[in-house]
C-alpha cells in the first residue's frame, strides 16, 4: 500500500518548507491527520511557507485535502504559501481540492432554550390536532366508500375481504385461544386464592364469568388484534405507499380506500367479534379448569353457578363492543399506514404509532362504553 507518509520541516531563508514524503492516501488516514496537526502547530512566525510535494508517492483526496487545509490555514494568517514540485498527474486532483470547502455550510443559528421548548410544545399540540383530523378523514373516506359499495354492491372487493378475514380471523384463532385460556386460568386461581381466606371461594365463578364476558374477553382480544393485525395493516399499506403503489391505484381511477382499506376494515369488523367470542369461551374454560383442579369445584357445580351468576346481558355488553373496537383498530392502522413517507425509519415509526394509538383508543373506548352501559342500566 505504499510507503509510510512523513512530513519533514525545514527553515531556510525566512521560508518554512514542509516536505511531504510517501503515500498520502486514505490507507494512512489516521497517521496523516496527526502529522498535519503537529506540523500546523509548529508553523510559527515565519512569513513564507512552501509545501514540497516532489517526493509524494501516492496522493488521493484525503491527502490532498490535508495539505490544502494546511496551506489555507496558514495563508489565512497572512503567510505566502506556495506548492513546489507537484507531480503533473496530481495537478488535476489538487486543483479540484482547492476549489472545495470555500463556503462554510450555513450552520443553524443557536436558539433560545425557552423558545425551543415552546416550539416543541406548540408542535405537539398541532400534532394532536393533525392526528384527530387524520382519524376523522379516514372515517369520512371509509363512510364514502361504504356508501359507494351500498349503491353498487359489485364494487365490494369480496375476494380481498375474505382473504384478509382468513389472515386476521382464522390464522389468529390459536394464539387468541391460548392467551385468553391462560388469562382465564390466572383470574380463577387468584380469585380462589384470595376469596378462600374469607370462605367466599364459590364467588370466583361470578368474578370470572362477569369479568371475562363483560370486559376482559373483548379487551384482551382487541389488544392482541391491534398488535398482531393492526401492525401488519400499517406496514403493508406503508410499504405500498413507499413504492408508489397507492399513487398508481389512484391514477387508474381507483379509490385506495375502497380497494385496500375497506376490505381490511370489513375483515376486522367481522373477525373481532368471533375472536372475542372464542376468546371468552376459552377464558371461561380455563377458569373452570382451574376451579376444578385447584379449587376442587366440580365442573357441574361450576356450570350451575355460572348459569346463576351471569345473564345474556353480560354477554351482550361484551359482544356489542367488539365491532367498534375493530373499527377503531382498522381506521387507526390504515390511516397510519397512509402517513408513511419515503424512509424505512418512517415505516417503523408509523407502525409503532399505529399499535400504541390503537391500544390506547381501545382502552379509552372500553371506558366510554362502561359509562354508557352503566347509565342505561345494562
Amino acid at each position: 500500500m505504499g510507503a509510510e507518509p512523513t512530513l519533514s520541516t525545514r527553515i531556510n531563508d525566512e521560508e518554512l518548507e514542509f516536505t511531504a514524503i510517501g503515500s498520502w492516501t486514505t490507507a494512512h488516514a489516521d497517521a496523516l491527520e496527526v502529522l498535519v496537526a503537529a506540523a500546523a502547530a509548529q508553523a510559527s512566525d515565519v512569513r513564507n511557507m512552501a509545501i514540497n510535494m516532489a517526493m509524494v508517492g501516492e496522493l488521493d483526496t484525503l491527502g490532498a485535502w490535508l495539505l490544502e487545509r494546511l496551506a489555507r490555514n496558514s495563508s489565512k494568517r497572512g503567510r505566502q504559501v506556495r506548492f513546489v514540485g507537484l507531480p503533473d498527474h496530481y495537478r488535476g486532483l489538487l486543483d479540484e481540492v482547492r476549489r472545495v470547502n470555500r463556503r462554510a455550510p450555513t450552520s443553524p443559528e443557536k436558539k433560545n432554550r425557552l423558545l425551543v421548548g415552546l416550539d416543541i410544545l406548540g408542535r405537539g399540540a398541532v400534532d394532536i390536532k393533525v392526528d384527530l383530523v387524520v382519524f376523522l378523514e379516514m372515517v369520512a373516506a371509509l363512510s364514502i366508500a361504504i356508501a359507494h359499495v351500498l349503491v353498487r354492491p359489485r364494487n365490494l372487493r369480496l375476494t380481498s375481504a375474505v382473504y384478509h378475514l382468513y389472515r386476521v380471523g382464522w390464522q389468529a384463532v390459536p394464539i387468541i385461544l391460548l392467551i385468553t385460556f391462560l388469562i382465564g386460568c390466572i383470574i380463577a386461581q387468584q380469585g380462589i386464592f384470595h376469596f378462600r381466606k374469607f370462605g367466599a371461594d364459590a364467588y370466583v365463578v361470578d368474578m370470572v364469568g362477569i369479568l371475562v364476558l363483560r370486559e376482559l374477553g373483548v379487551l384482551i382480544v382487541s389488544i392482541m388484534v391491534a398488535g398482531r393485525s393492526g401492525s401488519a395493516y400499517t406496514a403493508e399499506l406503508g410499504s405500498m405507499k413507499m413504492r408508489e403503489e397507492i399513487d398508481a391505484l389512484r391514477t387508474m381511477g381507483l379509490d385506495p380506500v375502497e380497494v385496500l382499506i375497506l376490505p381490511r376494515v370489513i375483515a376486522l369488523v367481522v373477525a373481532l367479534p368471533i375472536l372475542a367470542f372464542l376468546g371468552s369461551m376459552a377464558a371461561l374454560y380455563g377458569g373452570g379448569l382451574v376451579a376444578w383442579l385447584y379449587g376442587g369445584m366440580s365442573p357441574s357445580i361450576f356450570i350451575a353457578r355460572l348459569r346463576e351468576a351471569i345473564s345474556v346481558t353480560h354477554f351482550e355488553v361484551g359482544m356489542i363492543k367488539a365491532p367498534f373496537m375493530a373499527l377503531v383498530i382498522g381506521i387507526v392502522a390504515c390511516s397510519e399506514g397512509l402517513r408513511v413517507k419515503g424512509s424505512a425509519e418512517s415505516l417503523g415509526l408509523q407502525t409503532t404509532t399505529s399499535v400504541v394509538k390503537s391500544i390506547f383508543l381501545v382502552i379509552v373506548l372500553d371506558g366510554v362504553f362502561a359509562i354508557f352501559f352503566a347509565s342505561i342500566g345494562m
Binding site: L62, W65, L66, E96, N101
Partner: protein, 259 residues
C-alpha cells in the same frame, strides 16, 4: 487478454453463475485494466448486474476465478477481503442511500466505520466529496427522501468515493435521468476518473455513456462476453445481438453522429 496480471484491476476467468436450473453466466472471462473505463452492455435480464454483483461478492459463483487488484477473493482471508472492499466503491442502481441518515452522514458513514478521523476533518472531507460531485454543502443536512433522482445518484457517487477507492463499480449510473442530467453525470464520471485515477466498471444501457465515457466496451450475450474492445471494434463485431444492439433504430443516429 494476455497482458500480465499486474496491469489488471479485475480478472474474471471461466465464471459460472446460475440460479436453480438457469445458468446466467456461462464460462465468462473478462479483464478490466487499471485506469480504464469499461462499459458492460447486454440485454435486460442478460446478467450484467449479476456479473457486477458476483464480482463484488453479493452473489455466490458456481465455478471460476475472480481476482480484484491481483487478489483472489476465494482464497483471501477475512482481512484481505476487507482491505479489498475498502479499495472499491459501488454506486447501486437506486443509490441505496441509508434513508435514516442525512446526506452528509451517508458520505461519512464509510469513513466513520473504517478510519479514525476527527469529526471536523470528516465534515470537511464529506463536504469536499459532495462538492466534487456537484452537490451544494447546504444540501448536506437533507435526508435521501428529499432528494431528486439526479441528486440521489450524485450523493451515492460521493458515498462510493468516500474512502478514495481505486475501482468504482457503477450499476446503470444514468438510468432514470433526463438526457441533460445523464450527460452531466457522464462528464462528472469522466472528470473524476481522470482526477482521481480511478478504474471504472460500468454497467449501462446508455449509448451516450458508452460513446463519451468508455475506453473499452464489453458486450454480454448468452452468458458470455461476445465482443470486447474500443467502440469501433465492438461496432465491427459480427455477433447478431451486438449488431442489432448497435444498429437498431435508436443507436444508428448516435453512431453516425461523430462522422
Amino acid at each position: 487478454m494476455d497482458s500480465s496480471a499486474d496491469e489488471m484491476a479485475i480478472r474474471v476467468r471461466d465464471l459460472v453463475v446460475g440460479f436453480g436450473d438457469q445458468i446466467v453466466l456461462d464460462h465468462l472471462s473478462l479483464d478490466v485494466r487499471r485506469g480504464e473505463i469499461l462499459g458492460l452492455v447486454g440485454a435486460s435480464g442478460g446478467g450484467k448486474s449479476v456479473l457486477l454483483r458476483t464480482i463484488i461478492g453479493l452473489i455466490p459463483k458456481r465455478q471460476g476465478l475472480i481476482e480484484v487488484m491481483g487478489v483472489d477473493l476465494d482464497t483471501a482471508g477475512l482481512w484481505d477481503t476487507r482491505a479489498i472492499e475498502r479499495r472499491w466503491g459501488i454506486l447501486f442502481q437506486q443509490g441505496a442511500l441509508f434513508s435514516s441518515l442525512t446526506v452528509r452522514q451517508n458520505v461519512q458513514f464509510p469513513m466513520r466505520e473504517n478510519l479514525h478521523l476527527s469529526d471536523a476533518l470528516m465534515d470537511e472531507l464529506a463536504t469536499a466529496k459532495l462538492e466534487m460531485v456537484g452537490i451544494s454543502p447546504n444540501d448536506g443536512d437533507k435526508f435521501p427522501a428529499e432528494l431528486s433522482g439526479g441528486m440521489t445518484k450524485r450523493v451515492a457517487l460521493a458515498r462510493a468515493l468516500a474512502l478514495d477507492p481505486e475501482i468504482l463499480f457503477l450499476d446503470e449510473p444514468t438510468s432514470g435521468l433526463d438526457p441533460i442530467a445523464a450527460g452531466d453525470f457522464d462528464t462528472l464520471i469522466k472528470t473524476l476518473q481522470q482526477t482521481l485515477g480511478l478504474t471504472v466498471f460500468m454497467v449501462t444501457h446508455d449509448l451516450d455513456s458508452l460513446h463519451t465515457d468508455c475506453d473499452r466496451i464489453a458486450a454480454l450475450a448468452d452468458g458470455k462476453i461476445v465482443a470486447v474492445g474500443p467502440i469501433a471494434t465492438v461496432l465491427a463485431s459480427d455477433h447478431p445481438w451486438v449488431k442489432s444492439y448497435f444498429q437498431g433504430k435508436r443507436s444508428r443516429i448516435l453512431t453516425r453522429a461523430p462522422n
